[in-house]
Symmetry: C2
Subunit: 433 residues, 2 copies
């Protein structure tokens, strides 16, 4: 019934009676005894022996934050920006997600990555309209209240900028998970399937393409084949239970599950159906894949199977581990073409592989967290993850990707990432071809 998976070690040892548990625990104690460094009661630890100030005085009243915020001790868990990824000014730039600080498969709204082309507009939802016209029987202009009257759906999906990892095509540029891979996040989205609106409006038989246009100053325009629109395209207004954040397109954005983030037009104001594609600026000058032949692939929408190890990583090294410590290697995998079927982990740069466990929810076109419980030995490693999806795709090596598309593209990079772990437990972003 549930597909919230657990670690295989956990679920296989789950017992229905306490009697069985004690039997298992006695055996398990041998195998798992080294999970922690030698156990002690820390009689010399002031943190346990002395009363802390928060244990002896009233805290803040519940009336303090009617919209809550993270602990001040989490002040370093933030989106970050890099000048290298800026197109002229900070209005046309990227706020990258701290993948190394996340848990589970949901990205909290405050940390969801964001890419803007004309800055973040502050739109009054009462004055925002969605026009749907072109090759439809009944063109329409909807207020936000009218739009939300359609039957809604909620789906968990990742959104990724197709340039994620792109600056590193010829080699590492950032010794950082956040800067090298932080243009992807995952949330529960609520909105309406466009096919359910189309039932009302009636699509003309020669409608083959849909233009989506944003209402912000960049007026982002992208063209989508009607087949995708009638499959799973949504207009979304909810993100992890609340209204879309301004930088995600408040009050509404297009969501094309598994396809380029740039196609998921934010601040959506207009959908126009036509028999021809539009060749808008952002699908000709940019968001195409330049091949070694000098030609470019233009209609290049779904994102390929991908993954990255999030612990350890340059920001979360193993420098505090001692030889023999047990530690969990974790990471995230996703595919725009289906559901993650498995993830392999290599410790030697791709010569040998072991299979990781998939954790929590495993859903199509959504983040899937993987895990491998590992005994740290203080040896140098070349740590890699390689994801597979149920459409039969496997992440390529760097050389395989270069052989297929050359080195001129900055889009759709999904080659295997390598973390070098040094003898001291430091972690560096390196390239293994």
């Amino acid at each position: 019934m549930s597909n919230q998976r657990e670690n295989s070690s956990t679920s296989s040892e789950m017992q229905s009676s306490r009697r069985n548990f004690f039997k298992t625990a006695a055996v398990g104690a041998v195998a798992a005894a080294s999970a922690l460094s030698p156990v002690k009661m820390r009689a010399d630890d002031p943190a346990i022996m002395e009363e802390q100030p928060w244990a002896t005085a009233l805290g803040d009243p519940v009336t303090k934050n009617r919209y809550g915020l993270p602990s001040p001790y989490e002040h370093n868990v933030l989106r970050r920006n890099a000048k290298l990824l800026q197109s002229g000014n900070w209005q046309a730039s990227i706020a990258m997600c701290p993948l190394h600080e996340l848990y589970g498969n949901i990205t909290p709204n405050g940390l969801f990555f964001s890419r803007c082309h004309g800055g973040i507009p502050t739109i009054d939802p009462n004055k925002h309209r969605l026009m749907i016209h072109g090759l439809v029987e009944k063109p329409i202009v909807l207020t936000m209240d009218e739009l939300k009257r359609y039957p809604s759906v909620s789906r968990i999906h990742f959104i990724e900028c197709p340039a994620n990892g792109g600056p590193e095509w010829r080699g590492p540029q950032f010794n950082s998970l956040q800067f090298a891979r932080g243009m992807v996040s995952c949330a529960e989205w609520t909105g309406v399937y466009i096919k359910d609106i189309i039932k009302d409006l009636g699509l003309k038989p020669n409608a083959k393409w849909m233009l989506a246009e944003g209402g912000d100053s960049s007026h982002m325009g992208r063209t989508v084949p009607v087949d995708k629109v009638l499959d799973d395209a949504m207009i979304v207004w909810g993100q992890n239970g609340e209204a879309l954040r301004p930088e995600q397109g408040y009050p509404i954005r297009l969501l094309l599950p598994g396809w380029e983030g740039n196609l998921c037009v934010k601040w959506l104001a207009r959908l126009e159906f036509s028999d021809k594609p539009w060749y808008a600026k952002e699908e000709t000058a940019k968001y195409t894949a330049l091949l070694p032949s000098g030609k470019a692939i233009q209609h290049f929408y779904p994102l390929e199977v991908n993954s990255v190890i999030t612990t350890p990583c340059p920001e979360k090294p193993w420098t505090d581990l001692k030889k023999g410590d047990m530690v969990e290697i974790q990471g995230l995998a996703w595919s725009g073409q289906g559901t993650i079927e498995g993830v392999d982990i290599s410790f030697d740069g791709g010569d040998n592989w072991v299979e990781a466990n998939l954790k929590g929810l495993v859903l199509p076109k959504a983040w899937t967290r993987f895990s491998y419980y590992y005994k740290y030995e203080g040896k140098p490693l070349l740590l890699q993850s390689r994801a597979r999806d149920d459409a039969g795709h496997v992440q390529p090596t760097v050389n395989e990707e270069i052989a297929a598309v050359g080195v001129e593209s900055v889009y759709h990079r999904n080659a295997i990432t390598t973390w070098e772990v040094t003898e001291k437990g430091e972690v560096n972003n390196v390239q293994v071809r």
Copy 2:
């Protein structure tokens, strides 16, 4: 593979080819034609005919909010507090969740309900320790880093205060969904199963109860049977992808899926195993169910099957609808004893029932959203929802609940809620016995 359900009407009409789609659309147009009021292009609508300021000037740079916040137009979407539910001061009170403003099954962290007994402490995680002792072979004190080295799990579960709805046992006190039912929320939690730590420590065979104690000034103490601890009890540090919020127990809280929120001790500092329960203050003076006989049920942990309609509700009336408009009735259902199997909706105070659709993820001990697409007719209604779980439980009527436990308890109320919808579309909280 996926159990992200769609509305049954949508999934049954999902088509693999465009040819089929057009056929369906032609038929569907008849059935769905009245989804909206008469369609027009609104040539007289200044919101579409005039350029808006956000379309003609750059917005905010992506560097503005490195931890993002909701749109200023959502300023009214907040947790709220009621003096009636306050025990002396705002440090011992409740911040209620705006259920009427939520989408999907995830509650954003900023809006997750919170109940405190000694205020919200600001705990330094570097100085916080978790002691596990009593009837274990190897007592231990863990730092937060050591705790997080165990293999983690992520699970979506609701947490509900057992007093949710309790003030209304003898009749409505609040003409409001938020105040009448807002002590429940649902999130993706990340942490470790206590059974996985116990494998390391070794539980003594006579251990039958576990005390959980908070490190804040209230030092909340609650006793849990070991069977639940070895089933699915977790120590959690992650909430919807980021660190627990301070008001949810930062840096760690106990999570007993489906059991009283008060048992899920926040700011968790100590777990002690024993052969006897503790009879702590908050499980004798409070959090017991007083019966008509004058005796009280004390060990009363799992929350019963429950549901509430969230649109319409007193805060989201139907006053803007016209006769003939199609509109989606939505609500939330949950059970601490299993997975929601179905929800029925009544328009006449419980005489007749129709079955709602379950939407999105349907997971055990988690919120399940239900929906019924309805043609508004401007007639007075007595609107009810009645949830069923896969353990065979059904929500009782008010009279059935009073017959079972009397009217003296304020805990574990799960009788059917009634919204009166007037001819004008106003919605009132009323009691139908």
